[in-house]
């Protein structure tokens, strides 16, 4: 059963990796604004358009 310790170590390290990922993304400002990007991504790509 001692192998359990290994499994725990695994699961903990995976969970920690996600925690760190979350903290890093928060630090980089990803969660400061959760609204605007959802609109921004729907804009057409830049092409100087001639008007209809």
């Amino acid at each position: 059963m001692a192998v359990m310790i290994l499994l725990i170590a695994f699961s903990l390290s995976i969970a920690t990796a996600f925690l760190i990922a979350f903290i890093v993304s928060t630090k980089s400002g990803q969660f400061d604004d959760v609204h605007t990007p959802s609109i921004r991504m729907l804009f057409e790509d830049e092409k100087p358009k001639t008007k209809k």
Binding site: M1, M4, L12, I39, R40
Partner: protein, 803 residues
């Protein structure tokens, strides 16, 4: 965002408003004013017309924009420093607040500023906060030019030189997120590690090594929870204890600390898991609950600073030259120039023969007053002449209006009172502490120290007040969220508790139950020929007075005649010669009409060649369905109306406000306050429902101040509740819904009480193993949070609220 587009008339291509007086055709499109046209022109030249493809008519109407703002003060370095984020080489980072931002087109355009103007490197928008973050090359373009550019395309930034707190708020928000994430992570993992302990009385593996490993990993995980995530509880309770007071964080901190110490004792001494899972669970759920409860509505400010109403810069007149300086740099004795429609920023003496001022900003009543040389003009007055000169006699910070503003506000809006549930909680935790000690003493007295110690721990753990606390934190958090979704924004949870007690509603009239800018015009008198109508239209066309505008809108002609010898008599009327007829529009007095009825609606009389034909009655239009709403409210609340207007509408309103002493007209702000105070002295809990700065004092006096807003950028006095005007019809459901919070809380209390009684009855006898206590805790927590969540949704559905 709900812009009404009338079908019948032409709609401005830029802003979507109906073109009323003029239509400007340009590039095969219709515009309502030259302002809108020129914005279109700029965008078109820079090939940014995609702006118009994302949302229909996205622009901001340029009709109401005052063009006489000066930004020269932005050339001064010490003013720039307050707006600029940081400078690096050639790049400057700038953050501006843009209240006009309202749709995806706005985002698109504002993020394409770099193709509009050389020198701007990039721009990025935060929509919910209505902010733009601009990076620009300060060698190519100055701050002033950027601000002017934004203004030119209809997005005038709101500049404030004392606004440096935003960044800190963001940092704080991130910190809470870290704490929640770490607490959640540790809580989940500790829970998993505790599972074997739950099911096996602690010796699941028969291997002490494994058991110990689990226990110590859990202990290690709980350390960041205690020393990082839970710090705010300890800090805050230490601070109040130092002042020999109590707050809700004290029992929480105590529970967390006891649970931790006991767990360490258990793990080290008895090789048992202890209560680390409960401890981290408490911290996680409390943090989460607070996060929702404290979630601010970024774009709304409940505590408006007066300075946001006053101009940020003024034109100082010195040695014959005008110089644009920041308001903060104004000194006593300075002479400043106030232009048409500008607000007087500080008390001062009028330096010219006479001028007209409108104090509607302070009193709520649009009333023009003539002032003469050397008279004091109080800050807040709006200048109605072409321009006037003022000598400042008091610093802006000491003006009458500032004092009015500051008088009571600090008192009412800064005390953070404890909620009822929090008070109950403190008593509860004291009882539990004492109960535990008593039980321990009892068993020790019997000589059974083992049982006594066990009873002490289990009583403290099982009866942890957190279930009670969580229920109120979660219920209120949930409620605030649902209410916000229905257009009602509430400052904080303690306001919710107070709203439940409200039994009297006091309404303001103009802007609250009537539209503030929509008027109803009716012509009464002799029949007029179509030509006469056109003549009135043509005459009114030359005046910018709001009454002329209303009449013009009412007649709604397309073409006008030429008017000769047009004269505007300030405060009296206008006259002019059209064809060979002399047409006059003006007040009763000016046209010498004998008074027929006293003090009815605002009237504008019309005469042709000095023969009075009739008059226009101008009244504010009532909001749609307002009378039904009021009638429904009447069966639950006592209704009062305090209006600054004249009593022309008394008969109309009498059926609704039919109680004695409930209908008052011609009220000054001070009278409104006094009336509310009188009601409160009779033992009523009063909610004031109003819309503007003139209600600010009444808001302060009342127990709850509710402001009605037409859009989120409106100027607002400090208040407790903000309600969107479209939701006025729902007000009764919303208030009822809030009062049901009590039911939800009671249900949650009962549930947690049942858990507590079961747990305690075992614990006091020393029969409850700590493990069972530790299981009972999270179960009760989850069931309470779940109940509160489901019930608040269920009740919302009952009232047909959007969830």
């Amino acid at each position: 965002m709900g812009k009404t587009i009338s079908i019948s008339s032409t709609v401005c291509y830029h802003c979507g408003e109906a073109c009323l007086s003029t239509i400007i055709r340009f590039d095969d499109k219709d515009f309502c004013c030259s302002g809108c046209k020129s914005v279109y022109d700029i965008l078109q030249q820079n090939q940014l017309c995609n702006y118009y493809n994302i949302t229909q008519n996205p622009g901001i109407s340029q009709q109401r924009v005052h063009f006489n703002t000066y930004y020269d003060f932005l050339d001064e370095v010490h003013n720039q420093e307050k707006l600029i984020f940081f400078k690096e080489g050639k790049q400057t980072h700038l953050k501006l607040s843009i209240p006009n931002m309202h749709c995806s087109s706005c985002i698109w355009l504002l993020e394409h500023l770099n193709s509009l103007q050389a020198g701007i490197i990039s721009s990025r928008v935060t929509f919910l906060e209505k902010e733009i973050y601009i990076v620009y090359n300060h060698e190519e373009i100055s701050l002033k030019e950027i601000v002017i550019l934004l203004k030119k395309i209809g997005y005038e930034p709101h500049l404030s030189l004392d606004d440096l707190t935003k960044k800190q708020a963001k940092q704080l928000n991130r910190k809470t997120l870290y704490k929640i994430a770490i607490a959640g992570f540790c809580f989940g993992n500790i829970m998993m590690l505790s599972l074997p302990d739950y099911f096996s009385n602690g010796y699941f593996f028969n291997e002490p090594l494994l058991n110990n490993a689990f226990n110590y990993i859990a202990l290690a995980l709980s350390i960041p929870v205690l020393f990082y995530c839970a710090t705010e509880f300890f800090v805050s309770s230490w601070q109040v204890l130092k002042q020999k007071q109590m707050n809700i964080d004290v029992p929480i901190a105590l529970a967390i600390f006891i649970a931790f110490v006991m767990s360490v004792v258990q793990i080290v001494g008895y090789h048992r898991m202890g209560y680390l899972d409960s401890m981290s669970g408490i911290v996680f759920f409390m943090l989460l609950g607070r996060f929702f409860q404290n979630k601010t509505y970024n774009y709304l400010t409940f505590q408006k600073n007066l300075s946001s109403y006053l101009p940020i810069a003024v034109n100082k007149y010195e040695n014959g030259v005008e110089k644009n300086i920041a308001l903060a740099d104004v000194n006593i004795g300075d002479e400043i120039v106030i232009r048409h429609q500008e607000i007087v920023p500080a008390d001062g003496l009028l330096m010219q023969e006479h001028a007209w001022f409108d104090y509607s900003f302070v009193t709520g009543e649009s009333n023009w007053v003539e002032k003469h040389q050397n008279e004091i003009i109080y800050a807040g007055a709006i200048q109605k002449n072409s321009s006037c000169l003022l000598r400042i006699s008091k610093k802006p910070s000491q003006s009458y209006i500032t004092q009015l503003w500051n008088s009571k506000q600090a008192e009412k809006y800064q005390t953070n009172k404890m909620l009822t549930t929090e008070k109950i909680n403190i008593y509860f935790s004291f009882t539990v502490l004492i109960l535990g000690i008593l039980a321990c003493a009892y068993w020790c007295f019997q000589g059974q120290y083992q049982i006594g110690f066990k009873a002490l721990i289990t009583v403290w753990i099982v009866a942890c007040p957190c279930a009670l606390l969580l229920s109120s934190t979660f219920t209120y958090g949930n409620l605030l969220h649902i209410l916000a979704q229905n257009g009602m924004y509430i400052k904080n949870a303690s306001v919710l508790e107070k709203i439940k007690k409200v039994d009297t509603l006091v309404f303001d009239k103009t802007g609250t139950i009537t539209h503030s800018n929509k008027t109803n015009v009716e012509y009464i008198g002799q029949e007029l020929s179509p030509r006469a109508w056109k003549e009135i239209y043509s005459l009114s066309y030359h005046s910018i007075h709001p009454l002329s505008k209303a009449i013009r809108k009412h007649i709604n002609e397309t073409e006008s005649f030429e008017v000769h010898q047009f004269i505007a008599h300030e405060g009296q009327g206008i006259e002019g010669i059209i064809g060979d007829r002399k047409v006059k529009l003006g007040s009763q007095k000016w046209l010498n009409v004998t008074q027929s009825q006293a003090n009815r609606f605002t009237k504008v009389y019309v005469s042709f060649d000095d023969e009075v034909m009739g008059y226009f009655e101008i009244k504010n239009e009532y909001r749609k369905d307002i009378f039904q709403v009021l009638k429904r409210l009447k069966s639950y609340f006592t209704l009062h109306l305090l209006s600054g207007d004249n009593d022309a509408e008394r008969n109309h309103l009498k059926p609704i406000f039919d109680q004695e002493d409930s209908l008052h007209f011609n009220q000054l702000p001070e009278q409104k306050t006094a009336h509310i105070e009188a009601l409160q002295q009779k033992g009523h809990t009063v909610m004031m429902i109003g819309d503007g700065l003139n209600d600010a004092k009444a808001f302060e006096q009342s127990d709850i101040g509710m402001a009605i807003i037409e859009n989120e950028n409106n100027f607002l006095p400090a208040c407790d509740v903000i309600l969107k005007v479209e939701q006025l019809g729902k007000i009764q459901s919303l208030l009822k819904y809030i009062s049901q919070a009590k039911t939800i809380l009671i249900v949650c209390f009962v549930i947690s009480l049942v858990y507590n009684i079961i747990g305690l009855s075992f614990a006091l006898q020393g029969k409850l193993t700590p493990v069972v206590a530790a299981i009972l805790m999270p179960i009760s927590t989850v069931s309470i949070v779940g109940t509160s969540f489901l019930l608040s949704r269920l009740f919302a559905k009952q009232h047909k609220l959007t969830i």
